[in-house]
């Protein structure tokens, strides 16, 4: 199973990718070529300790803001038993890297998911989401197959923020004619959120911590 997470800048792709990879002990490919900070490579060792195979640019380039893709990426995708989560950079600029792999992603029936946080500028409504979806599809030469609902305001998110935000995402998904695969929220809200939504709930732990949270 190959799952690709796309979406606009700061929609939550990295947190969700890291959590999915850890939950399923899958391989995580960090294809973020646009973000300088808060990338999944920051928690490489932690992920490896938890049974995740992490594919990254070599260490001497990992802190560069260069579009580096290692040959291992294609190798991993060609593996018949591939169980991979791909964390892609934000917007169409970040998604452009997927174009290189569009053919194999199609052959392997990869799930290409759009992460939507309605509290982010430019994905607060269907119009914005539609635009970003089209731009990503064009840049990446792939078709989005579903939505991840990720309504949050960062660390201070309340249960009502999640529920009200999810209602927006439901509308957005309806307009885009795409299924919501799951909703993600912090672990401590997840047990409550399940009572209010009718899609699967994935509780996540926050890995992209600021220096004062370490």
């Amino acid at each position: 199973m190959i799952t690709v997470l796309t979406g606009n800048f700061g929609s939550g792709k990295t947190e969700i990718s890291v959590n999915l990879a850890i939950k399923n002990h899958s391989t995580l490919i960090d294809l973020d070529i646009v973000n300088p900070y808060f990338r999944s490579r920051r928690v490489k060792e932690e992920m490896e300790d938890k049974g995740v195979k992490v594919i990254l640019p070599p260490p001497y380039l990992a802190n560069s803001d260069l579009p580096v893709i290692t040959p291992e990426v294609l190798g991993e995708l060609q593996n018949p038993n591939a169980d991979v989560v791909i964390d892609v950079g934000g917007d169409n600029v970040g998604a452009i890297v997927l174009g290189r792999f569009s053919k194999i992603l199609e052959e392997k029936n990869a799930e290409i998911l759009l992460v939507v946080n309605p509290y982010r500028p430019y994905t607060q409504n269907q119009f914005g989401a539609q635009q970003i979806l089209e731009q990503i599809q064009e840049a990446a030469r792939v078709s989005i197959t579903g939505i991840i609902s990720n309504p949050n305001l960062g660390r201070v998110t309340t249960i009502s923020d999640v529920i009200l935000g999810h209602i927006e995402v439901v509308e957005i998904a309806k307009g885009l004619n795409l299924p919501i695969k799951f909703i993600s929220c912090c672990n401590d809200l997840a047990h409550e959120v399940v009572y209010h939504v009718n899609v699967p709930v994935v509780g996540i732990e926050i890995y992209m911590l600021t220096p004062w949270e370490l």
């Binding site: 973000n35 900070y37 309605p118 500028p121 305001l153 960062g154 600021t210 004062w212 370490l214």
Partner: protein
């Protein structure tokens, strides 16, 4: 929805738009590129101009031109880019033009690193460009504060006819926090009678920083100095945290102050009376506010992502009254709260 989740860079850009800024000239550099990127989308929506110049030098001179014509204008960069802009910044201060300049610092010297740093404190507060000028320098510590200070920065720039710098670092630019934009669109901007808006019967306005007569230029520089004196008296800003009964006072700004605040909490849990002094204006340095909290302080620990730059202003402010120690990380490394806590414990031993 009233609250949005934004990166510091994006929020700063939106704040500029809310403050009535309609012109942005810049050149991309990590870790501030989201700011121009956001404005490249946003400016056309509000009938503004976003222009990626051919270089930082070009961008800052476009700021000079737009400001001279009376526009609210902004540019942004990160450390090496600000060095390139330094000449233009001196010209803008010399010609008394208001503008807002954002520096999201990265590690230096040289091309350095794309990771966060605070090594441009001297450049921001003590010059950077040539001549006797000062920038008003504001250092936000959260995304919300970045928004509020940016909106205010445009007013301050207009009030003093002087460039204002927002000094952050890569962490502030890249991290995401919820923000609220309190102001509605500011449509009524102050009239700039000095701007080159077309003569139309009034006396000629000239924007200039060149004076061939020394006597006249001395008068000009002295007049600027009077203005800086007024800014020094009126624009000092600082915040304290648990400083009233503190025996060990941390001094830190921006991102580092967030790290220190947590370290203060850790120290308090261990029964150590620690507190935090956080300058919000770096120039003028809030010396008065610092002197006010010295009461029980036995020592000050300055924490920076540099080899020790703000510490000089701390020492000037306390003038030998208490010992001042230093802890810093450089090269893009960020101190953790645990590191600072350990340093507090060690510092207490020797006091």
């Amino acid at each position: 929805m009233s609250k949005v989740l934004m990166k510091g860079n994006e929020a700063l850009a939106e704040a500029a738009v809310r403050a009535g800024c309609r012109y942005f000239f810049g050149y991309p550099i990590t870790p501030q590129t989201e700011l121009p990127q956001y404005l490249s989308k946003r400016m056309p929506e509000v009938g503004g101009v976003f222009l990626q110049a051919e270089s930082e030098v070009a961008a800052i001179n476009m700021v000079y031109g737009a400001s001279g014509a009376g526009a609210r204008v902004m540019t942004s960069s990160s450390s090496p880019g600000i060095s390139l802009k330094a000449e233009g910044i001196s010209y803008i201060a010399g010609a008394e033009l208001p503008c807002v300049i954002v520096n999201m610092m990265r590690g230096g010297p040289g091309l350095g690193t794309i990771q966060p740093a605070q090594g441009d404190y001297f450049q921001a507060t003590k010059g950077g460009g040539h001549g006797d000028y000062k920038l008003l320098v504001l250092a936000p510590a959260s995304v919300q504060e970045a928004v509020d200070l940016t909106i205010e920065a445009f007013d301050l720039a207009d009030k003093y006819r002087n460039p204002v710098m927002i000094l952050g670092d890569g962490i502030l630019g890249q991290m995401m926090e919820p923000v609220e934009f309190k102001l509605t669109e500011n449509n009524e901007l102050p009239v700039k009678e000095w701007a080159t808006t077309g003569k139309k019967g009034r006396k000629k306005n000239i924007i200039n920083s060149l004076y061939l007569q020394a006597e006249k230029f001395e008068q000009h520089v002295n007049r600027l100095a009077d203005k800086f004196g007024e800014m020094e008296a009126k624009e000092q800003r600082a915040e304290t945290y648990l400083a009233d009964d503190a025996e060990i006072l941390l001094a830190a700004y921006g991102t580092t102050s967030r790290v220190c605040r947590k370290a203060v909490d850790m120290a308090r849990e261990e029964g150590i009376k620690a507190g935090l002094f956080r300058p919000i204006s770096l120039w003028p340095y809030p010396a008065y506010a610092l002197q006010q909290v010295l009461g029980r302080v036995k020592g000050i620990l300055t924490v920076e992502m540099s080899l020790g730059q703000m510490i000089e202003d701390v020492r000037l402010a306390v003038n030998g009254k208490v010992p001042v120690d230093f802890y810093g990380r450089v090269g893009g490394m960020v101190p953790t709260s645990r590191d600072v806590f350990d340093k507090i414990v060690a510092f207490r031993e020797v006091l």
